[in-house]
């Protein structure tokens, strides 16, 4: 719209010598970009609606389409970027708070890319995972400090509840409501096939998915949507969500328009009613209050389920994690500032929180210094993009990693960052039945299994290269990491030497 000074960001390039006018693109695009113009006898495009999700490109049988960045530009200015200018136009025209989705896309240092993994040469030979067993089984939960034997000398089994995983990779919280039924089914089935867990987020658990309970983490967030006894009993572990990396310090607001059908039934709130999650849990104003919630959840599930407390990586994360560890939590999940979201205020997503790499290293070190590292397990999340990121997280001190954006990419997400519109052409971040039907849970589950299986294999190969044959021996093994191009302070926080040292 010219009067808002906003011009299309993308250009739809259609090769008319190839286009047969089959209209497949028009049928695929829920944003209404493509249309057949009978007068001109050809397909035309409305670029103002394009979000660059590639759905049409993937479905054009003639390979006639390309979406490219529009070359329209502002006068060059290293201070005022095009995005900064456009955001001002948007707010001046609407008076609204900027809303974005998926993770922080700004240029901040990615420490994973400044860390390098070791390998053995000559001495301490590497291990060939094709020939020798490599253990990726992971147990998340408190580990006892002492062993007890009875009068006959037999070990008294007193192990607190553990989450047993075949691979140290879990799918992190995404609610039914923010993503579709078919996306949830894909995650649940993949988690079962892989021997790991997916996470309900705070949208409750759909009746159909109770059967995947052994591979489900059920979340309890400030809105307590869909939280009741059966739900708490259904999961393998319970996660208290205190914060999320993409929007630390704020709650959530799913507009009533999205609370329809099964989403309403699963959250147990009426159709059309807004789902407001307050910023804090109003029964938690201290570590003592958190402890009360942790133990009330343990009480109602007879102490059989490990309790995870999820916090966003913020400035004092090490001290906060130390408090959380003392609250009785079995597992702490730390979510870095590049973590994804279905919708978050842009300014918060882009400016609040700290990188997971630094947060994780600081927390692991603090818990070790205080002698309580074994009383909790750590899950790191917030943009784990590959098996290398996952292994680096484990070497920095994580017991396991959470992935979500990577999992959605496996399901066909093209990272167009328009989840908040509810018109995801790939059937993921939408509740529109005709769009949801585009994601086949059989295929989705298989693609997730493929991804995590491949990552697990890569982790084994890298561990073998270091002469390490179990995740246990890799965890917190920072001698196996070196930094490149990092300053003394960064190296100090990460607890690694510089490459060449």
């Amino acid at each position: 719209m010219a009067q808002e000074y906003l011009y299309p960001e993308f250009q739809v390039v259609r090769d008319l010598s190839r286009c047969t006018g089959c209209r497949a693109c028009a049928a695929q695009c829920a944003n209404g970009v493509h249309r057949y113009d009978a007068d001109r006898g050809q397909m035309v495009s409305d670029e103002t609606r394009c979000v660059n999700c590639h759905r049409c490109v993937a479905f054009c049988p003639e390979r006639a389409l390309k979406i490219v960045k529009d070359r329209q530009c502002f006068r060059e200015n290293d201070n005022w970027s095009g995005d900064a200018i456009r955001e001002i136009y948007r707010q001046a025209a609407s008076g609204g708070v900027l809303l974005s989705s998926m993770g922080n896309a700004k240029e901040y240092p990615v420490y994973w890319d400044r860390l390098l993994i070791n390998a053995s040469q000559v001495t301490n030979p590497s291990i060939d995972p094709l020939r020798e067993p490599m253990e990726t089984k992971t147990f998340l939960g408190k580990k006892p400090d002492t062993l007890r034997r009875d009068a006959a000398g037999r070990l008294v089994p007193e192990l607190p509840p553990q989450l047993e995983l075949d691979t140290p990779i879990l799918f992190s919280a995404m609610s039914y409501g923010s993503i579709s039924y078919n996306a949830h089914e894909s995650l649940a089935r993949a988690a079962q096939a892989l021997g790991t867990c997916y996470n309900t987020g705070e949208g409750g658990l759909h009746r159909d998915f109770y059967r995947y309970g052994a591979n489900t983490i059920v979340q309890v967030a400030s809105g307590r949507f869909g939280v009741h006894r059966d739900y708490l009993e259904a999961g393998a572990a319970i996660e208290i969500k205190i914060g999320q990396g993409a929007k630390p310090g704020i709650g959530g607001h799913l507009p009533g328009a999205k609370i329809v059908g099964d989403v309403s039934a699963t959250r147990m709130i009426p159709e059309g009613s807004d789902a407001i999650s307050p910023a804090p849990h109003h029964d938690i104003y201290s570590i003592e209050d958190l402890r009360q919630l942790v133990y009330s959840l343990k009480e109602v599930t007879r102490g059989e389920k490990p309790v995870i407390v999820k916090i966003a990586a913020v400035h004092n994360v090490a001290a906060i994690a130390s408090g959380v560890a003392r609250s009785g939590a079995d597992i702490i999940a730390i979510d870095g500032f590049r973590g994804g979201t279905g919708a978050a205020p842009t300014r918060i997503r882009d400016n609040v929180g700290i990188p997971i790499e630094l947060a994780l290293a600081a927390v692991d070190q603090r818990l070790r210094d205080e002698g309580i590292r074994s009383s909790v397990s750590l899950i790191a999340g917030g943009s784990i993009r590959s098996s290398a990121d996952a292994l680096k997280a484990i070497l920095l001190g994580a017991d396991a990693v959470y992935i979500a954006t990577a999992a959605l990419l496996a399901l066909g997400c093209h990272l167009c960052r328009s989840c908040h519109s509810g018109r995801c052409n790939w059937g993921i971040a939408t509740q529109r039945p005709e769009l949801v039907a585009r994601l086949d849970p059989d295929e989705g589950a298989q693609r997730l299994v493929n991804l995590v299986t491949a990552w697990t294999h890569e982790i084994k190969e890298m561990m073998g290269g270091m002469g390490i044959n179990s995740i246990e021996a890799a965890r917190g093994n920072r001698m196996m990491l070196r930094g490149v191009g990092l300053n003394e302070i960064e190296l100090g926080i990460l607890g690694v030497k510089h490459a060449g040292q």
Binding site: L98, D283, V300
Partner: protein, 218 residues
């Protein structure tokens, strides 16, 4: 099948997640009494502490005394009756769904933040013994987007947010209150008719002025 359990020591989590039976508590219980309660009855023969009936789904809790902060936090079903006063943050984020309409009845007064973020259910404060002032503290109903709060008083609470609408109760409201007052008097004594004869305000979310933050897609 009604199992009778009696607790005389003030531990936490009494009746946590219970689904049936009757629990009687004879000395002040610890926090989170009846958290996730899913049925049955809990009767406290004295006062209760914080977070009574937290995230409760069904059943009844009766407190012959006062209840502490965050009573009925996020409750989705069942009923809590408190003879005397409630603390701060009572009934925050109560919600309802289909036949599940939770009820929180307080005989005396409540502290600040009563019914914040209320999304459903009924809160009734009878104001017995504080007839000369509003029976609730500050910021009553902030963020309220569903349900209803009935206050038996002639005084409006201080600083009500714009998003809360105040009205005189209609006959449908009185029908809703009547059985609650009846149950209250059945448990704690008193004359329902004289209580019902008092003046009530009903607070509901002001749909013409909702909490919608204006967003612009970016």
């Amino acid at each position: 099948m009604a199992v009778q359990e009696t607790y005389a020591l003030g531990q936490r989590y009494i009746g946590c997640g219970a689904q049936w039976g009757k629990i009687t508590v004879t000395q002040v219980p610890g926090n989170a009494l009846g958290a996730y309660l899913d049925g049955g009855e809990i009767e406290v023969l004295c006062s209760a502490q914080d977070a009574t009936g937290d995230t409760m789904n069904a059943g009844e809790i009766v407190v012959h005394g006062s209840a502490g902060d965050a009573t009925g936090y996020a409750m989705r079903g069942g009923a809590i009756y408190v003879r005397d006063n409630g603390g701060y943050r009572c009934g925050i984020h109560m919600k309802e769904y289909r036949d599940k309409v939770p009820v929180l009845v307080v005989g005396g007064s409540c502290g600040s933040f009563l019914g914040e973020y209320q999304a459903g259910g009924t809160i009734l404060v009878l104001g017995i013994g504080c007839e000369d002032r509003a029976p609730v503290g500050n910021f009553c109903g902030t963020g309220m987007h569903g349900g209803r709060i009935y206050l038996r008083t002639r005084f409006l609470p201080p600083n009500l947010p714009e998003q809360v609408a105040v009205a005189e109760p209609q006959s449908a409201d009185l029908e809703r209150i009547r059985p609650l007052v009846g149950r209250f008097c059945e448990k704690f004594g008193g004359d329902p008719e004289s209580l019902l004869a008092g003046h009530f305000f009903v607070l509901t979310p002001n749909t013409s002025n909702p909490y919608h933050q204006l967003y612009v897609n970016n």
